[in-house]
Structure formats: C-alpha cells, structure tokens
C-alpha cells in the first residue's frame, strides 16, 4: 500500500505485475485520493463564490447614491439594529489570519478580483489532476478485471490443492468478473 503511496503522479506502475490484492489496494487508494481532491475542488469553488459575493456587494451596495441610506445591522443572525450608511468610500477587508485592512472600494474590488483569479487558476489545475486520477482509476479497474479473467482461464492456480468444490469456486470468480463487467458498462 505504501509502496504505491510513495509513487506520486508521473511514475508508471506495471499493472500486470500486481496481484489481485495489490490491485484492489491500489484502487482503494486511488478512490480515497479522488474523493479528497473532489472535496477540495468543491471547497475551492465555494470560496470563489464567496469572493464573488463580496465583489457584488461592493459594486451594488456601496455606490455614492447609497450614502446615508438607512440599513439594518445584524448583531446576531437573528437580531438587527437600525443604522445609517456613513461611509461608502472605504471598507475593511479580511485578508486572512485575523488581519483586516482598510481599503478604498476600488482597491477592495481589485483585491477580490485577484483572489477570484487565483482561485480560478487553482481550480483549473485541480480539475486536470482530478481527471488524471479518474483515468488512473479506470485503468486500474480494468486491470483488476483482466487479472480476474486470466485467473479463471488458468483454472484457478493454487485452488486445486485445496480440493473440494473447485468448480463452484471457479464459478464464483466468473460471477464476480461478470458482475464487474456489468458495473463497468453501466458506468
């Protein structure tokens, strides 16, 4: 498991040289990697959407003609007090790690635009990685199937020794393999 973990993208593994167990382990690992990357992708998208909201809020809510307009200030999510918009030219921007910087609206918009662009770039990179991983996963799945079939054609090496219900077991392998085929074509 960790032997394949020590192989980051770029290196090739000869799938034919792996046993069924190793293949399924590799598949499991790829599955979890893919899941992790997908969650990261989602949270990045969410963050980007949040920044877009900020950008929209500045351009919609902080124009000169909105100055002095009455607003409701949320003290808690369900408690509001009336207020008046005094300053539409500067805003406080959360730049991360607890620091807030006073910026003009133009600078703040610039800041959010930059953030959105950065995230967009990251999202694109991540998308490429996710696709690559997905491809790897389907290759491994195919390899797994292949091994199962060849195992069956050879009459199940190592099984004859045990004696007993050999035929039945061979059939089990067939069934598993066929079920795998069905799942693959469905997908």
């Amino acid at each position: 498991m960790s032997s394949s973990a020590a192989q980051p993208g770029g290196q090739t593994i000869d799938l034919a040289a792996l046993s069924v167990q190793q293949l399924s382990q590799l598949k499991k690992q790829l599955d979890s990697e893919l899941e992790h990357l997908t969650t990261s992708f989602q949270s990045l998208s969410r963050a980007q959407a949040k920044f877009k909201d900020c950008l929209k809020s500045i351009s919609d809510g902080l124009t000169a003609k909105k100055a002095d307009s009455p607003i409701l200030v949320p003290l808690t999510p369900s408690l509001y007090v009336p207020g008046r918009l005094m300053d539409v030219s500067t805003v406080l921007v959360d730049v991360g790690t607890g620091f807030y910087v006073e910026k003009s609206t133009a600078d703040a918009q610039d800041f959010y635009k930059r953030k959105i662009e950065d995230l967009g770039r990251n999202l694109k990179e991540l998308e490429a990685i996710v696709q690559g991983k997905g491809k790897n996963l389907s290759v491994v799945e195919e390899g797994e199937l292949h091994v199962l079939f060849s195992f069956d054609l050879q009459g199940g090496p190592g099984r004859a020794r045990e004696g007993g219900p050999l035929e039945l077991e061979t059939w089990d392998v067939w069934e598993v393999a066929m079920a795998g085929v069905g799942a693959r074509t469905d997908g």
């Binding site: 406080l92 790690t97 620091f99 807030y100 910087v101």
Partner: protein, 127 residues
C-alpha cells in the same frame, strides 16, 4: 499454530496503530500547509499596501489597530514557526512510514511461515 496466529494478530494491531498515527500526522501536515498558504497570502497582501495603511488585528471580539511594521513582523514570525513545524512533522511522518514498512515486512514473513507450516501438515489441518 495458535501461537503464530496470536503473533500475527499482535503485529497487525501494531500496524493498525501505526497507520492511525500516520493519519494524524498527515492531517497535521495538511493543516500546517493551509495555514502557510493563508499567511503567505497575507504577507503578499501587506507588500502591496502603503506604509500608512490602516491595519487592524482581530483580537477576540474587537479589532485592534496595528502598525504595518508590527503586522508584517507578526506574519513573518508565524511563517517561520510554521516552516519549522512542517519540517518536524515531515520527519515524524517518514519515521512512521519506515516503522510501518518494517511491520508490514514482519507480517508478510509471518504469513509465509504460517503457510509453509500449513502445507507441511495437511493431514493435521484436515483433521
């Protein structure tokens, strides 16, 4: 036979424990990575600000005004700390990986040993 089985059980327990430790270490490493990213972002943002920019720091529920130089210093030292922590955790991770690799080898050896014994005594196993 039972002896070996028990040994195998113990080994795989230890292996599981190592895997758990590895997971915690990897999680810590990831957390540090994201903190480092965030701090780098702030650091970059500070370089774009003029020296008299108004910077506030969130302390509990209030925003305290801070000099830019002070804020820059705080972020720099935090980055230093994070970098050291990352090095420490990485060392920890490679240690654990080495250990679990050894454990895996031990388990494998024990398993082959058990298989050999099984093949040598087919009559007993069947009985």
């Amino acid at each position: 036979m039972g002896e070996l089985q028990k040994q195998l059980q113990d080994l795989s327990d230890e292996f599981q424990k190592l895997q758990g430790e590895l997971q915690t270490a990897v999680d810590a490493r990831q957390k540090l990575e994201s903190q480092q990213q965030e701090n780098r972002g702030v650091q970059k943002e500070f370089t774009l600000l003029s020296d008299d920019a108004n910077i506030y720091k969130l302390v509990g529920p209030v925003l305290l005004k801070q000099e830019k130089s002070e804020a820059v210093m705080a972020v720099d030292s935090r980055l230093d700390y994070i970098e050291k922590e990352i090095k420490r955790i990485e060392k920890q991770i490679s240690d654990i990986q080495e250990k679990s690799e050894n454990k895996k080898l031990e388990i494998f050896q024990l398993q082959t040993q058990m298989q050999q014994q099984q093949q040598q005594q087919p009559v007993q196993a069947a009985a």
